[in-house]
Amino acid sequence: MKGLLLKDYYMMMKYCRAAIIASVLFLVLSAFTGGNLFLVIYPVIICSMIPLNLIAYEEQSGWEKYCAGLPYSKAEIVSSKYIIGLVITGIISLCTVIAQTVQSAQEPMELQDYGVTFLVIAMVCLLSTGVLLPPLYKFGVAKGRLIYVVIICILCGGVGFLSAYFSQGEDTAVNFFLLLGRIPGEWIVFTGIVFVLVLYALSWWISILIYRRREL
């Protein structure tokens, strides 16, 4: 699979340079503007879409068909994109932690907080990539991208609806956020990252199944 990863690296350096520069710029801005949430999350979303961009360029050049003649299994072809997703997640999470370190230079944070930041950013990035890839392999880039947007809207809408529902005041049967407040933050993050990792692995497996059945 080394050849596939090398090809993805070359393509990333050529086609995703703008996304990488924008992400760095946003993180630098976030470091000097008090850690604005938008400036932190936006680079994560941009970077999580790098596998999509790579697949789009591959589709355009006819690589998918050409690659079928190379000594790679379909599982390896799919896996290369998930590995790229993991590497990007690691890098962007680390960059966010660095930006946060710069930002909190006046008031140094505890080591644990850095860990929490790393994991939260990793969760968002992995979730985004994990949701994105199966529809992409099933329906192709154009339709897959649209389905991704719909899924993200449903997820955001769902979270919005739940927060509104559980925050209606004391009348509500269960105040979700009060309940969450009683659970230590590290446990929530830990449970969250385990959940996202399971979801990512599931997405990986589903994409392989889809791609194996796909006729090229």
Partner: protein, 278 residues
């Protein structure tokens, strides 16, 4: 050993069926798949590479089922499609590195030699290559990892005659090694006629015939005669006939031609056109 054996291969599509195809390509030989657009040539190559699922039949490559560890079998196969699909930003140097990390038997020296021989620009991105250059690069890659079987799907179409001639020469050279074989699909019959040992005619998903080229050229001839004269020849022996105001032009088996009737040698292209059209 046979490089490729296809038995009873069937693939159904909504508006097309590849119908019970049998083909055998012995090692050391070049087989040409001839057929009009949509006859099923590319479908066969895609089925060999398991890019699409077959509905019936079997395919063996050097004695092994093509679905049995195909990844390993592809180490021995060089493929060139009608479009060489490298990402447009890559340069030859980068493609060489990618292939070095893809094929176990990749020979960088051989690749560099082909790049030099084909006068390919090493620093230009792939998107700036002409069609001829792209095909040459695809062929250079296919020949640089000690492949034993070359699958070439319309690899010469869209190229100028000089480049085609150069490429045809390379394929000829490749099969000097008796463990090598080439399956070449094209609708440019003249190219296939130059190099192929075996010719397979495909028409609307069916195999019309598969025979040694020299046998075909020796077995059939073209005659110009009257309607009455063509009636003297058994209809089984007539592969195709074209009637006009001036008489009949027909492709017939030489051993059925009555003595005294003049017969001209036939080309593979004429044989194919007559079999399909008339």
């Amino acid at each position: 050993m046979n490089a490729l054996e296809i038995k009873g291969l069937v693939k159904h599509y909504k508006d097309f069926t590849l119908d019970h195809l049998d083909l055998t390509l012995p090692s050391g030989c070049i087989m040409g798949l001839i057929g009009e657009n949509g006859a099923g040539k590319s479908t066969i190559i895609r089925l060999i590479l398991d890019m699409i699922r077959r509905d019936e039949g079997s395919i063996t490559i050097f004695g092994k089922d093509n679905r049995d560890n195909l990844k390993l079998q592809k180490e021995d196969i060089g493929v060139v499609f009608d479009e060489v699909g490298f990402p447009e930003c890559l340069t030859i140097r980068q493609i060489g590195k990618i292939m070095k990390n893809s094929y176990r038997n990749w020979e960088q020296g051989v690749f560099d030699q082909y790049v030099k021989e084909f006068a390919l620009p090493e620093k230009k991105p792939f998107k700036e290559f002409s069609r001829g250059m792209k095909m040459k690069l695809g062929i250079a890659v296919a020949l640089s990892h000690h492949a034993k079987l070359l699958l070439l799907d319309e690899a010469t179409s869209g190229l100028d005659p000089v480049v085609r001639d150069e490429i045809v020469g390379i394929f000829n050279e490749f099969t000097r090694d008796e463990s090598h074989a080439v399956l070449l699909s094209s609708h440019i019959v003249s190219d296939l006629e130059k190099i192929c040992d075996y010719i397979a005619f495909l028409h609307k998903g069916k195999l019309l015939l598969c025979e040694e080229k020299d046998v075909l050229l020796g077995e059939y001839g073209i005659i110009h005669c009257t309607r009455e004269q063509i009636g003297w020849i058994p209809s089984d022996a007539v592969k195709g006939r074209k009637e006009s105001a001036y008489g009949v032009e027909a492709i017939v088996r030489r051993d059925y031609i009555p003595a005294g009737m003049s017969v001209e040698p036939i080309t593979i292209e004429e044989l194919f056109v007559f079999m399909v059209k008339y």
